[in-house]
Amino acid sequence: MAGRSLSRKWLAALVPAVPYLWLGVFFLVPFLIVLKISLSDTAVAQPPYKPVFDWNDIVGFFSQLDVENFELLVGDDLYLRATLSSVRIAAISTILLLLVGFPIAYGMARAPERHRSLLVALVILPFWTSFLIRIYAWIAILKPEGLLTQTLMGLGLISEPLNILNTETAVYIGIVYAYLPFMVLPLYATLEKMDDTLLEAALDLGSTPWRSFWTITVPLAMPGIIAGSLLCFIPAVGEFVIPDLLGGSETLMIGRQLWSEFFSNRDWPLASAVAILLLIILVMPIVIYRDVEARRLETER
C-alpha cells in the first residue's frame, strides 16, 4: 500500500515536471545561450562563433564576455533606424488594425445571437490557412500589373498602374490582413459582453450616440482594445515574412535585420544581440500592460 501511494506521488509529480523540464531545456536554456553569445566575439571558424561552454573554465567564460556587439548596435545607425522603423510600422499597423477591426467586431457583437458563432468561426478560419500563402496571395494583388491595378483600371478609377508592392503601404496591408483575427477576437469578446442598457442609459441621460460611443463603449471595450493591440503590436515589431515579401528592399525592420545578419552576414553574435534588443523593446509594452491591468483591478476592488 505504502509503495503504491509513493509511486502515485511520483506519478503526480511528473505531470508538472515533464513540461517544466521540456520548456527549461528547449526554451530557457537556449534563451540564456542567446544572451551569452550576444556578449561574445565572432570567430572566423565555422560555426561562426566561439565555443559556448567550457565547464572547466568558468572564470574564463565570464571574463570573455563583453558588450562590443551592443556597442556596435548602438554605434551603427542602421540598427537604430531599423528599430525605430519597426516600432513605427508596428504602431501604425496597430492603429490601422483598430480602425479596421473595431467596426467588424462591433458588427459581430450586434449580430443576432444565432449567427455569432458562425461569424467567429469565419474570422478564425483564415488563421488556419498558411500565413505564408496568405501573404503570398497579396503579391499577385499588389503587383504593378496585378489584380488591384487591373480592377481599378478596368473600373476607370486610375490610369497609371499602382505601385504598391515593395513599399511600406504593402507592409501595412499585409500586417493588417494577417493580424486582423488577433484584433477582432479580443474586441469582439469585450463588446459582446457589454450590457446594451448602458448605452440606452447614456442616451436617456442626453448623450448623443456618437458621444455615448466614446464615453461608454470605448472605455468599456478598453481591455479588448489593449489585448488586441498588444497581440498585434508585439509580433508585428519582430515580423520578418511580411516586410520581406511585400516590403521591398527599403523597408527596414529589425526582424529582417536579424535574419540577414544570421543568414547573409553569418554574424551570429550580432544576430543574437539584435534578438536581445528586440526582446527589450517588446518587454516594455507587456510590463506597462500588466501595470495598467493591475491598477484597474485594484480600483475595481
Partner: protein
C-alpha cells in the same frame, strides 16, 4: 431587448469578410489559370496541379513537413495537456510564475528569436540540424498553444464530476482516464489540430533549425516566391487551403455532434 444591426454594422461586416476572404479566393481561382503569367487569366486549366505533383523536390518537402507536423503535434499535445493540468490542478508549486512565463513567452515572442535561440542551443549541444531539430523546435512552440487551449477547457470544468467519481470509489488515475479525459478530449483534439497547422505553416523557426534533407514545404515555397510568382505555388496553396477548410469543417461537425451527444446524455 434584441440588438439590431444598423446599416453601418452590416457594411463593416461585408467589407471585413470580403477583405479576409477575397485574397484567398483569388489565389484558388488563379491556381486554375492556364497562363504562366500568374495575374493574367488565360483560361481554365489544371495543368499546374499536374506539374506540382511531378515536382519531386516539392513533393519531398511536403512529405517532410507532414512527418514533422505529425510528430511535433503529437508530442506537443501530450506536453501541453500535462502543462495545462499542472496549471489548473496543482495550485501554487515551486516556480509556477516562471512556468507560466515560459508558456506564454513563446507565443508572443517574435519567431526569429525563438528560431535563433533554439538553433544556437542545438549547435551548442552538438546536435546535427535536420528533421529532428525542426520537430523539437516545433514541439516547443506549439505545446504552449495546446496548453492554452486545454487550460481554458479545464478552467470551466465542473470539478464535482471528478469528486463524484472518486466518491464512487475510482482512484485518481482511473478518475482521470474515465471522467476527465473524455470530457476534455475535444479541447485536446483542437489543441492537436492547432499544433499541427502551426507546424505545417512555420517558415521562420524551420529555416533556422533545418539542415540537409529536411527542407520543409514553407521553406521551399518561400524560396520559390522570392524568385517571383509561380503558378505551381498557387496550386500547392490551393491544395493546402482545401485541406485546412475540409479539416475545420470536419472538426466543427464532430465537436457539434459530440456536444449534442453530451447534451442528450446529460438530460
Amino acid at each position: 431587448m434584441t440588438r439590431r444591426l444598423s446599416l453601418f454594422n452590416v457594411t463593416s461586416l461585408v467589407f471585413g469578410f470580403a477583405f479576409l476572404y477575397l485574397p484567398i479566393l483569388l489565389l484558388v481561382v488563379y491556381s486554375f489559370n492556364a497562363s504562366r503569367l500568374v495575374t493574367v487569366w488565360g483560361g481554365f486549366s489544371t495543368q499546374w496541379y499536374g506539374a506540382l505533383f511531378r515536382n519531386e523536390a516539392l513533393m519531398e518537402a511536403a512529405w517532410v513537413t507532414l512527418r514533422i507536423a505529425l510528430l511535433s503535434a503529437g508530442l506537443s499535445t501530450v506536453l501541453g495537456t500535462l502543462a495545462a493540468l499542472a496549471l489548473t490542478r496543482y495550485g501554487r508549486f515551486l516556480g509556477r510564475t516562471l512556468f507560466t512565463g515560459m508558456i506564454y513567452a513563446p507565443m508572443v515572442m517574435p519567431e526569429v528569436i525563438t528560431g535563433l535561440s533554439l538553433l544556437l542551443f542545438f549547435v551548442a549541444i552538438g546536435l546535427d540540424r535536420g528533421f529532428w531539430t525542426v520537430a523539437l523546435a516545433h514541439t516547443t512552440l506549439t505545446m504552449c498553444f495546446v496548453t492554452v487551449v486545454v487550460q481554458s477547457r479545464l478552467m470551466t470544468f465542473d470539478r464535482s464530476l471528478e469528486e463524484a467519481a472518486m466518491d464512487l470509489g475510482a482512484p485518481p488515475l482511473r478518475t482521470f482516464f474515465a471522467v476527465t479525459l473524455p470530457l476534455i478530449a475535444p479541447s485536446i483534439v483542437a489543441g492537436f489540430l492547432l499544433a499541427f497547422t502551426l507546424s505545417l505553416d512555420d517558415l521562420v523557426i524551420a529555416s533556422f533549425n533545418t539542415g540537409p534533407g529536411a527542407t520543409t514545404l514553407p521553406i521551399k515555397i518561400y524560396s520559390q516566391v522570392r524568385l517571383g510568382l509561380s503558378p505551381e505555388v498557387n496550386a500547392a496553396s490551393a491544395i493546402l487551403i482545401g485541406i485546412v477548410t475540409l479539416g475545420v469543417i470536419v472538426a466543427t461537425v464532430l465537436t457539434k455532434r459530440s456536444a449534442a451527444r453530451a447534451q442528450r446524455q446529460s438530460h
